[in-house]
Amino acid sequence: MDDFEKELKGDFLEESAQLLEDCEQSFLQLENNHEDPEILDQIFRLAHNLKGSSRAVGFGEVAEFTHNMENLILQLKENRIPIVESVVSLLLDCNDHLSHMVSTLTNNFNAEFDSVDLISRIVNILENGVESSAQTSLDQEGDSEIEVNETLEEDAHDIFEQQAMVHDKSLVENTDIQIQLDKKQEVANDVQPPLNESNVVEINKVQNDEQTAPLKKKVSAVTSQAKKDENIRVSLSRLAQLNNSVGELVILQSVLNQHKDEFKSEILTKSLGQLSKLSKDIHEISMSLRMLPIKGVLQKMQRIVRDTSNVLNKDIELRLIGEETEVDKLVLEQLGDPLVHLVRNAVDHGIESNVEDRINAGKSAQGNIDINCFHDGNSLVIEVIDDGGGIPPDIIRKKAIEKNIIKANDKMSDQEVVQLVFHPGFSTKEQVSEVSGRGVGMDVVKTNIQQLSGDITVDSTLGKGSVFRIALPLSMAVIDGLIVEVGRQNFVFPLGQVHETINVRPEMLGFAEDLGVVLNLRGENMPLIKASDVLGTEPFNTSQSFKKAVIVKSKTVNYALLVDEVVDHQQIVVKPLGHEINYEGFMGSSILGNGLPALILDLFKAIKGKNLKIKKIEQVFNEVA
């Protein structure tokens, strides 16, 4: 196979994966909204595209399979077959099969597939209509799997029976039936029993070509209309290049801005102003290129809820709120797995198994799961909310003690106990279930989220339900930063870690030998630490009568950090530091307006394991001894 062909096939598979995702969404919509002809139009278009392009690049099996699917969709479109759950399920199964084909073909262009079963299900519905399909699909399975060596007579007999059914249902026009009859008899008289795939396909082709001919124009018209909001694929590495260059541009721009007083000519000053605005626009656009709406990931959850609740025989509605919330592509890619876990968990463990429990608790019979996404400052928050039974703290406590996760006499609040669901190897379901697995779920979720520098917590009210809350940085690439000066050098503090900045005055300070200098801020005491001690930089004496301090507050640390000056607050493009610098107090680096790189300090980690107390109050204001 030459490179061109390989590339062609690769491109096709990549595109198909996207098409199939779109398809799945449409199928799910279809189930809830039978009337909307646009959905069917769209599905038909997607299937048609897939058929055409798979044939063009030489994936015959895919083309053949989609062709069958297309036939079914066509019947749905023409209202010959009602849209009921079994049909949607079949379509979803077909979709899964196609996805499987596409992903297998990605690894091996010559892979072969067994599509007989699905095709016979399609054909069955096409011929017999929906109601009888359950029964006959069993028959057909028998035909193809067990009684492979049936005699001609029996086969023919079957076929006549089926024909009779077709007549009864009158689902197919007479001419079609005639064609089918003829073809089937050919099949029956053929030397190769039983009905084999290719023959069936043949039948449908004849049937289909007649019907699609007038449709083709319509379809192509619709397709060209849809092209208006077309996208273009760009590799991430190119985007990274662009972002780098734009970062440079912005830095150069700020250097120019700093020196604009030196421009004597009016036209230069004016142009600089315009250029400045332009640079800012370009910067914003380039940053936004990596941001995608979270929709893509959330919509997959529809399918998860549908399938999982079917298996468990629960009636659950999933609502998506804030689908358009944007997030960095890299973050988005990592979100799928943890969300699937959470959603499955909500369906399996969250919503009550017994409907009467719900009704007795004054809730609707139908379970509700909401996924709510929004921006909170510089974070993306995703909440998975179920209105089920909630997580019972006493059961968790008991299990945790049994599994030696906590000790019987550990004092923990209910809230703390509930967080134990994220502990490795914790599963409260008595039996391992098909749906939620073996208790490896939640701790994996937590690890995944932490790898994205995020956090996950759970709030649960017994009888009311649970809220799993994921908070993630919006982007790994840009943060809000506070630029501070320490020892004549600029450092960046992530604004998310800074609680506030204050002016330290002598009357706010106290001292105790064991604590060092303590700052009293509105009644709260916290250790005061010099940034120059944290960073090991030379002390630098300012003549000011007060000092600036940055207050750092989190669950684990609470301190005030003395800095020489707070310079600026701006959006910071985070650049990774090389592996050779392994001090964990640094989060990364950034290039500032002066063109020099500055280190970004992780304020939560920078003071870890260090004894940095200031030994005399005088040292706060008189740094040079």
């Binding site: 600029n490 090389g578 610098i581 680096s589 063109g595 280190l599």
Partner: protein, 162 residues
């Protein structure tokens, strides 16, 4: 300041190395690992880093570390140092700048011209030496800069995966 480099004529079996001076000694690194040679840039010092880490610099938007091998190897710098330059090395996605007293030349060296570094009693820390090349009156140590700095490429890969 990008230097023009004179290349020796090469035959097919030759490997090419960039030779530079640290103090009065000659060292060389595989030319394929050299991304570029620049003048000594402004750098930002790195707290808590070993003293041979000079700082980080902005190389057209990329932040990279600059190391002074002379400090690491305890070699006194040349007294007159107008030719001081930074060699930017790139190996498996690690980019690093190395300060050198002078960039000398590109050497084309055949494998049979490389001899092993001598074993010295009680010293086992010169793994970084790939070999020794002897010219007419000169000796050049062929080196792996990442090894001398103790940067394990394997670790780097693990970090990427995490």
């Amino acid at each position: 300041m990008n230097k023009e480099l004179n290349t020796d004529t090469n035959t097919s079996s030759e490997e090419r190395y960039l030779e530079f001076s640290l103090g009065n000694e000659n060292y060389a690194v595989p030319l394929l690992d050299v991304k570029e040679v620049i003048a000594v840039p402004d750098t930002t010092p790195i707290p808590h880093a070993p003293s041979h880490f000079v700082g980080i610099m902005n190389l057209r938007g990329q932040v990279i570390s600059i190391v002074d091998l002379r400090k690491k190897m305890k070699i006194s710098p040349k007294e007159q140092s107008e030719e001081v330059a930074v060699v930017i090395l790139e190996v498996q996605e690690i980019t690093l700048g190395v300060i050198v007293d002078q960039v000398n030349r590109v050497l084309g060296i055949r494998e049979d011209q490389i001899s092993e570094a001598p074993q010295i009693e009680g010293k086992n820390n010169h793994d970084y030496m790939l070999g020794i090349y002897r010219g007419e009156n000169t000796m050049t140590v062929l080196m792996n800069v990442f090894k001398i700095l103790g940067i394990e490429e394997l670790n780097f890969v693990e970090k990427q995966a995490a």
